[in-house]
């Protein structure tokens, strides 16, 4: 099939494109991109001189007045399958992903069983090929059983399709083992994604430590619990030359530590999530379990620092940390409710606010949500993804900046309705998502 996306405002930082133009897609790949001042793409010939294969094979999408972006890549997603299908499945999670403008999601390994060997990786890839609406790239664990005791078979998981390794939700507390992980993973050129938390310091904590945690009577987690581990991991990356990526940065101090490390030339990248730059710990007021997330929502100064980190490039990536939970699990004692926010369908709209506020250009936003994840996960080579260059996978997100959408938690596509953004009005929601040439459209 041939798809022609016409007259859209194309943003592709990988080629420095920011202008109105057309994109031609053939057989699930980008064939050609033309912007103003260059002619409309030449439609390829099909069959002996019969034009280009007949009208039935051409699908034209009029993108006039819309932004056309490389498909977004979420490098931190929880699809919950296998094991927790009551929270989310590969099918429902990828449905939420394309609804949110994502054409690739990288699923974290904290499933049951955990993705700590090639057979689990193979299961996820196979299931995603059968039931997924977009590309699913698994992330394997660093240590067997996520236990922090011995390295998992990274090579075998890499061969089966894992693009990174992480003990998601847990740090590797043993510094020697973390050193080995950063060293060993170099053999496969894959990043180690670190959940930075000093568990002894955060023990029992359920929200950010401060006056609010005191007045709510909830045990606080000091910002230092994240910072201490960020500093350790940066030190180990410096020691080993390993590829370190820091997950869900949430505090002012961590931004500072990463900025300093980058200045020194340490090979470290970092992500944050929309909730860390959109809301503060105040969202917890009234014991709102939908605002319970780990790391916890920070203070105003943390939010400001995260925005500055995004602006100056300290933070490379915006990821969702999409963590769907069943409604009964969130309808519990605050202490007992699981942490996490269902984030795939609000991430783009919340991030667009940064463009509105002048913190990022739309092109920089695409870097954070498509190009940089592709770079970090080596997807500019395989696929390629995160770019609209000819030959790349036909992954495209088309958004309407003029349209406002009111978020209704109960109506989220994801099984997880756990969002603190219920009732928010967001702009820039996708109207068309194309994943490897498959078209999904909404009114």
């Amino acid at each position: 099939m041939i798809i022609l996306v016409k007259n859209g405002h194309i943003i592709d930082p990988s080629q420095g494109i920011d202008g109105v133009g057309d994109i031609l897609i053939e057989d699930g790949k980008i064939k050609e991109v033309r912007t103003q001042n260059t002619p409309t793409p030449t439609l390829p010939h099909r069959g002996g001189g019969q034009g280009w294969g007949g009208d039935s094979e051409l699908r034209t999408i009029d993108a006039k007045g819309l932004y056309v972006l490389p498909g977004l890549i979420d490098m931190h997603t929880h699809l919950r399958e296998p094991g927790f299908e009551y929270k989310e499945t590969i099918n429902t999670g990828t449905t939420a992903a394309v609804r949110g403008g994502f054409t690739t999601v990288c699923c974290m390994p904290n499933t049951y069983p955990v993705n700590d060997n090639a057979s689990v990786t193979e299961f996820i890839i196979r299931k995603a090929a059968q039931e997924g609406l977009c590309t699913v790239l698994p992330i394997g664990v660093i240590t067997k059983g996520q236990k922090g005791e011995e390295l998992a078979e990274m090579g075998a998981m890499r061969d089966e399709g894992c693009v990174a390794f992480s003990d998601d939700g847990y740090p590797v507390t043993n510094s020697l083992l973390m050193r080995r992980a950063l060293e060993y993973s170099k053999a496969f050129s894959v990043p180690i994604i670190s959940h930075c938390e000093d568990l002894t310091l955060s023990e029992g904590g359920v929200m950010n430590e401060g006056l609010l945690s005191v007045t709510l009577g909830l045990k606080g987690i000091p910002a230092e619990a994240e910072m201490i581990m960020v500093y350790r991991d940066i030190s180990l990356a410096e020691l080993t030359g390993g590829r370190l990526h820091i997950a869900h940065v949430s505090t002012e101090g961590s931004v500072r530590l990463i900025r300093d490390a980058k200045k020194r030339g340490v090979d470290v990248t970092a992500e944050t999530c929309p909730h860390y730059f959109s809301i503060t710990e105040d969202a917890v007021t009234g014991y709102n379990t939908n605002a319970k997330v780990n790391p916890p929502l920070g203070a105003k100064r943390d939010v400001e620092a995260i925005k500055e980190g995004l602006r100056d490039g300290t933070i490379d990536v915006i990821a969702t940390d999409h963590a769907p939970h069943h409604i009964d699990e969130k309808l519990q004692e605050f202490d007992k409710a699981p942490s996490g926010i269902s984030g795939l369908e609000t991430a783009l709209g919340l991030s667009m606010k940064l463009v509105d506020e002048g913190i990022l250009t739309i092109s920089q936003l695409v870097e954070k949500m498509a190009l940089n994840p592709a770079r970090i996960l080596n997807l500019l080579v395989t696929g390629p993804k995160g770019t609209l260059k000819p030959g790349a996978d036909a992954d495209i997100t088309i958004i309407d900046m003029k349209k406002e959408v009111k978020i209704e938690a109960a109506k989220l596509t994801s099984k997880g309705k756990n969002t603190p953004f219920d009732g928010w009005v967001l702009k820039g929601m996708p109207v068309v998502t194309i994943s490897k040439g498959r078209i999904y459209e909404w009114q």
Binding site: L211, L216, G217, G220, G286, Y287, L331, E333, D335
Partner: protein, 306 residues
Amino acid sequence: MLKKKDLLGIKELSLEEINLILDTAAGFKDVLGRDIKKVPTLRGKTAINLFFEPSTRTRTSFELAAKRLSTDVINFSVPMSSVVKGESLIDTALTVQALGADFIIIRHPSSGVPHLLAKKLRASVINAGDGTNEHPTQALLDAFTIREKKGRIEGLEIAIVGDITHSRVAKSNIYSLTKLGSKVRLIGPPTLIPKEIEGTGVTVFHNMEEGLKGVDVVMMLRIQMERQGKGFFPSTEEYFKNWGLTPERFSLAKEDAIVMHPGPMNRGIEITSEIADGPRSVILEQVTNGLAVRMAVMYLLAGVRR
């Protein structure tokens, strides 16, 4: 009139509401002094004590307060219930409500549980202590006792001594006593006083002698033995040496200062027997006043328009 059907915490109450409860409690205290201590005020109502934590005094006090108002009262204690079989909190509470409860008096180790139930239930939820958040009826009975003994609360210097971090009694007292216009000092080891708490308008002292100078009221808190050896303080002996209330230390307070304790006390750890049993101790009167205050709370909540 109270504005809400529930008593969740002092934070949620206005100064007028606090005073209304205290004034109403004074009337009920008269009833308790009579030969026949029971009034028919809330006949036909049902109160259920839903306690997820062990408690004798608070539960008994609520039970007796309900009975004095002619309200039927049932104790729903957790080890006997289906909670141990894995029933969710909400399901337990809905079941209790379906039994016809007008008041659900809840104690729970997690902060915010009364707030969660209040949203889901038609019944009046009364917080009898949630996690390290609040214990509002304790603070109300403390304010009642201070007002009765001192004639006023405004302008008084009140010291709260001990484990502030883990004390819902301290939290509720901070909110109520500052709303009522007194100056609150917190005294204790730095490991047991969160540094952010000064944001509530209190003054923090780590030195007991300094903190006690010239105060009108000394409110001691129970030191929980399980905090020992967990990094909060090395031993109860060392705690007593630094923060125990001895006659020498108490002499630094005003001459007519009173001593309070929410109980149960650890004699020889946070307080000496001489002080606890001494002439300026109002500890047992607090218990009696607790009944009057809890009667007032139930009476006023029953009158809230739904």
